[in-house]
């Protein structure tokens, strides 16, 4: 049975990152499932992403419903599940359509989806990160382990490292804004180089084992 998968805008951004370049393929591999995004989150994405999302029959862009959303927001406030209204729309849509999965790489959305699910004792609305969505596609037999492995590492390098350092960049360093930006950008580059030192030998060994047939492709 087709799974209903609600995605946050950041998931489309993650997968469409030039180094990851997997949004098109992911949607193709999810053709037996239904991917849903609210217009609020859809409008957060850029034109290229919007074109890709619109080109798939299994992608549904769901209109706003202010009345129901208002009530849902009040319910969330009572439960002290606090998000911006755009992020609340991700959970709102997942709740409305009783989504099997709700996908976001935003820790806040992931955390709040988990809390809502736990507090309301939902069997649906299982939270996923973008990497878990790849895990799902891999487990469905749509991609090989090599693709899953490499794309996950790319996501870590090009999204996660940036996200972590963006967070650090919002702290007070007691320097000028320009200096702070320079420090953060320098940190990003250093971390990515360091990451490469870990990644390259692992990938080389992985490819070697793959060529020996010791790992399923």
């Amino acid at each position: 049975m087709a799974k209903k998968i609600v995605i946050d805008a950041c998931v489309a951004f993650d997968l469409n990152h030039p180094k990851v370049n997997f949004l098109d393929d992911s949607l193709k591999f999810l053709s037996e499932d239904i991917v849903l995004i609210s217009t609020v989150n859809f409008e957060e994405t850029d034109l290229k992403i919007q074109r890709i999302l619109k080109s798939y029959k299994n992608v549904q862009i769901i209109d706003k419903d202010e009345t129901k959303f208002g009530k849902f927001s009040t319910d969330l406030e009572t439960l002290k599940i606090n998000l911006t209204w755009k992020d609340r729309y991700v959970l709102f849509l997942a709740n409305e359509v009783k989504a099997d999965f709700v996908v976001s790489s935003d820790f806040n959305v992931y955390d709040k989806a988990s809390r809502l699910r736990k507090l309301k004792n939902f069997r649906f609305m299982e939270p996923m990160t973008t990497v878990l969505l790849l895990e799902y596609i891999y487990n469905q037999g749509k991609i090989g382990y090599g693709v899953f492995f490499e794309k996950s590492l790319y996501l870590y390098k090009y999204k996660e490292i940036d996200n972590m350092l963006e967070h650090l960049g919002k702290q007070n360093f007691n320097v000028t804004r320009e200096e702070q930006i320079e420090i953060i950008e320098d940190c990003k580059k250093t971390m990515k180089h360091r990451f490469q030192f870990y990644k390259d030998p692992i990938i080389a060994e992985f490819r070697h084992l793959l060529s020996l047939g010791e790992i399923p492709s």
Binding site: M1, E77, T78, L79, K80, I81, N82, L83, T84, W85, F107, N108, Y110, D111, S114, R115, E126, P127, M128, T129, L132, E135, Y136, N139, Q140, G141, N163, E166, H167, K170, N172
Partner: protein
């Protein structure tokens, strides 16, 4: 964003206070709090992060479980029809795609279900 504002937004994201309480603490409207939240990046406390990792592990197990091909065989004299895909409906019912078969079975013990042709409308048993 000053230190006090950051502290209030952290408590808000942690679920320690509501939007109304945050609005009172900072003396600004709830809409303004939402606006501030847009520019705030929350990193959960380590205990919460550990919980999230645990939830993630459960999701991985669930993904593996629902993706596991379950082989259904329907014997028809010597011919065996195999169905690799099957869908669980609720907790105890299974539907085989393209077959008008829907049965209640104790799925927690299922490794393989065999439906004999003669039992087409009967209760399948677990091999």
């Amino acid at each position: 964003m000053n230190e006090n504002e950051q502290k209030v937004l952290y408590a808000l994201c942690n679920g320690d206070i509501t939007f109304s309480e945050a609005s009172e603490k900072l003396g600004v409207s709830k809409e303004k709090i939402e606006e501030m939240l847009e520019n705030y990046s929350w990193v959960p406390p380590s205990e919460r992060l550990a919980e999230l990792v645990e939830i993630e592990m459960k999701t991985i197990l669930h993904i593996r479980e629902i993706s596991r091909p379950i082989e259904f065989k329907i014997s028809k004299t010597h011919e065996v029809l195999r169905y690799k895909q099957a869908e669980f409906i609720g907790s105890t019912t299974v539907q085989i795609p393209n077959m008008p078969i829907q049965r209640n079975i104790p799925i927690q013990t299922v490794s393989e279900v065999v439906l004999h042709h003669t039992e087409y409308n009967g209760i399948p048993y677990i091999q």
